[in-house]
């Protein structure tokens, strides 16, 4: 341990090996799986909305990876079937997330398919859920004295509506909503589904 080069080479080698195991090997295995036929690439508007989702940091509170019934009641909450690797082929950057300060969103487009609902919720989550801690996003909307043709007016109860005029969704809000509504992986999982089955193995006791 007194020579620099062997120390450096061994340290590098160990990390290279870890990279092989954690990055390259899973990458190769994942790439071998075919794309589910029902999974559509994002449209231009959905991709713009996805950029909003990424840029606003939604991932820090919302995961996009329902767990299996062996582990958690995600299915019963309407969050969808257990996610598999092939569900994410069009995702870049990935938004799997590690927090559920809010609910999982991988199938929010199936679970809450209403554009009007999503806009109300983005404008003021507490208009629907009094207990919610989600940020409000008023900067994605504008208040106009009256709606113009083509405007999408946000449905709001009186307590949350502006004193005068109407709340109209900006393009950013419409894009973000289009992305949220596109989140729908309710098609059946492919037969060669790839996911962590560690909990199923634990349950079956093998």
């Amino acid at each position: 341990m007194n020579r620099y080069l062997p120390l450096a080479l061994l340290a590098f080698g160990i990390l290279a090996f870890a990279t092989l195991m954690l990055v390259i090997a899973p990458g190769v295995q994942i790439a071998r799986h075919s794309v589910p036929p029902q999974l559509e690439p994002y449209t231009e508007q959905q991709a713009r909305g996805r950029a909003q989702y990424v840029g606003l940091g939604c991932v820090y509170c919302h995961s996009q990876q329902p767990r299996s019934p062996d582990q958690a009641p995600d299915g019963e909450r309407g969050w969808g079937r257990p996610a598999v690797a092939a569900d994410y082929v069009y995702d870049q950057p990935h938004q799997l997330g590690t927090m559920r300060t809010g609910p999982d969103l991988l199938n929010v487009g199936a679970r809450l398919p209403s554009e009007a609902w999503q806009l109300t919720h983005l404008y003021q989550p507490r208009a629907i859920f009094g207990w919610s801690v989600m940020p409000a996003y008023p900067f994605l909307f504008e208040i106009k004295p009256a709606a113009e043709p083509g405007d999408t007016v946000v449905v709001l109860p009186e307590a949350f509506a502006p004193e005068a005029g109407v709340v109209v969704a900006r393009q950013e809000a419409l894009d973000l909503t289009a992305y949220l509504l596109s989140l729908d992986r309710t098609y059946p999982a492919p037969a060669d589904a790839l996911r962590d089955e560690g909990y199923a193995t634990m349950e079956s006791g093998s």
Binding site: M1, Y4, L15, L22, L56, E76, A85, H94, L194, D196
Partner: protein, 515 residues
């Protein structure tokens, strides 16, 4: 399951375990150990193997320090600036989780961006810079060699800080790479990598041109970190090649290794240097420190996928990371033996040295954080804690209570020696210590208890999701209180730092003593 992958998996673990077994055997039979001759070159002809009671291991390093002083000072100053800014964003993000209608008017102040700013500013602005500063101070000393190319790190510091500022601006405006720990856009990451070269090159050059043959254990950690972090950073940031779930495994391979193979070696290496340095006694065992270092390299490098337990990734890679996470007990116990025993036998020094209080506390937190991490990676525990604030508490136990607090001690130790004068307000140091320790205790216990309750609520289908949100609120409020105390401590730290910078040159360097 493809046969090739099963084989690779088996191979991986067998290689790790065999390497470890070989190490234990080699150490036990003294195949690799510090030779008397090596020790003599380091410590002078008489010194090796004897307790240091007669000053044999004393060296005058002031000449060496003078060369590294400038880059170290610049890096520490910049790091403290980012610490304060990053902490303020952290407190802001924390407040927003229980005051969701506070500051909602503009996009840069939304929770998702403030939290991201907090993370990136403290990791890249504070921890990395102060860690590099520590390396630049310590490496020339343990190598008895003045820092080579001392101008490069100054250029590096300029580029690094401008890039961190630009990265912060990018995140605030929504321009992000969108993966946790990798938010700074890759275009800016090129500049960070360039600055990194400017930091690393002089230190590697110093190591290669060193005056002593022996490399003290701190040196292994620092040299390892300087190999690992650039590799991690470049592979994870390569644009365009990662997508979908493969990107997720790369993301967590990177994110956990930033902690394990960058911040941890910085913290452990710094503690390994300052604990014996301040106490004035050698560490307990060369063999144990070897086990600690190589165990860290072998096991920590493969733990990242425990962030995706139960997710859409192959079972084998998750299990691999779970097993390696638990194996982390080995190197952590090794480091604990070497560091805590030295401190426990010399508790008098904690009274005398304020920096040692920080560093010994931080080293203890390394043990706790790692044990907690190993337990947390078990599937049965993870199923409760995953997706909850418990994880946030754990991350702060590692990155804050361990690495940051060690770095506080390191700065308090270095500054008087670097400037040749003492801190103007030693009382502020004590206030800083108690604010961050108590603040962190509130922070940690609130999130850990709340996180477990949150996880249990989410696992119970008969309780609506709302319950998991509502029950967290008091714990999130407590977290804001703890976080504010920590931030107040940082502000005192910054004031004291400004104080010592502006003070008139006076008395010669003296260690910071408590009473």
């Amino acid at each position: 399951m493809p046969l090739t992958i099963g084989l690779l998996l088996g191979l991986s673990f067998v290689v790790s375990v065999l390497a470890l077994a070989f190490l234990i055997w080699a150490v036990a039979t003294r195949q690799i150990t510090m030779q008397k001759g090596d020790a003599a070159t380091v410590f002078g002809a008489e010194g090796a193997g004897h307790p240091d009671v007669d000053g044999t291991h004393l060296f005058d390093t002031t000449g060496i320090d003078r060369i590294s002083a400038r880059p170290v000072l610049v890096l520490i100053a910049a790091a403290i600036f980012w610490l304060v800014v990053g902490s303020l964003f952290g407190v802001g993000a924390s407040l927003k989780l229980h005051w969701p209608d506070w500051l909602t008017g503009s996009a840069p102040l939304t929770f998702g961006r403030m939290r991201t700013l907090h993370l990136n500013l403290v990791i890249y602005g504070w921890l990395s810079q102060v860690g590099i500063a520590g390396m630049m101070w310590i490496l020339p000393r343990i190598f008895r060699t003045p820092l080579k190319m001392p101008g490069l790190p100054l250029a590096g510091a300029v580029i690094w800080n401008l890039t961190v500022a630009a990265g912060g601006w990018a995140i605030a405006t929504g321009w992000t790479d969108g993966e946790e720990w990798l938010e700074i856009p890759w275009q800016l990451d090129i500049l960070l990598a360039l600055a990194g070269v400017f930091f690393v090159l002089p230190m590697i050059q110093t190591a290669r041109k060193r005056e002593v043959h022996h490399i003290y254990v701190t040196g292994w950690y620092f040299l390892g970190a300087m190999i690992w972090f650039p590799f991690l950073f470049i592979v994870a940031n390569l644009p365009g090649i990662h997508y979908g779930v493969e990107e997720a495994t790369t993301n967590w391979w990177f994110a956990h290794n930033v902690l394990g193979l960058w911040l941890t070696p910085l913290g452990v290496g710094t503690a390994y240097y300052f604990i014996p340095k301040i106490i004035g006694k050698p560490v307990y065992s060369y063999a144990v420190s070897l086990l600690g270092f190589w165990g860290l390299a072998l096991f920590y490098s493969q733990v990242g996928i425990h962030h995706l337990i139960g997710g859409p990734v192959p079972t084998w890679v998750v299990t691999l990371s779970v097993v390696h996470s638990v194996m982390m007990f080995i190197p952590v116990i090794a480091v604990a033996v070497n560091q805590h025993v030295t401190v426990a036998r010399n508790t008098w020094a904690l009274k005398q040295s304020l920096p040692l209080r920080f560093i010994a506390f931080g080293a203890l937190m390394y043990t706790f954080a790692s044990f907690q991490g190993s337990i947390e990676a078990l599937r049965s525990v993870n199923t409760i804690t995953h997706f909850t604030h418990y994880t946030i508490g754990h991350a702060h136990l590692g990155a804050y209570a361990f690495v940051s607090i060690v770095m506080f001690g390191s700065v308090y130790h270095i500054m008087p020696r670097l400037l040749g004068r003492e801190f103007a307000w030693p009382g502020l140091i004590r206030a800083h210590f108690w604010l961050v320790v108590l603040g962190f205790a509130i922070y940690f216990f609130a999130l850990s208890i709340g996180g477990v309750l949150q996880g249990l609520a989410m696992l119970d289908a008969t309780r609506p999701f709302a319950e998991s949100v509502i029950l967290m609120k008091p714990y999130l409020e407590a977290r804001s209180i703890g976080g504010s105390m920590m931030t107040l401590g940082h502000i005192l730290f910054a004031l004291n730092f400004i104080g010592i910078l502006l003070a008139r040159p006076g008395t010669a360097a003296k260690p910071v003593v408590a009473e």
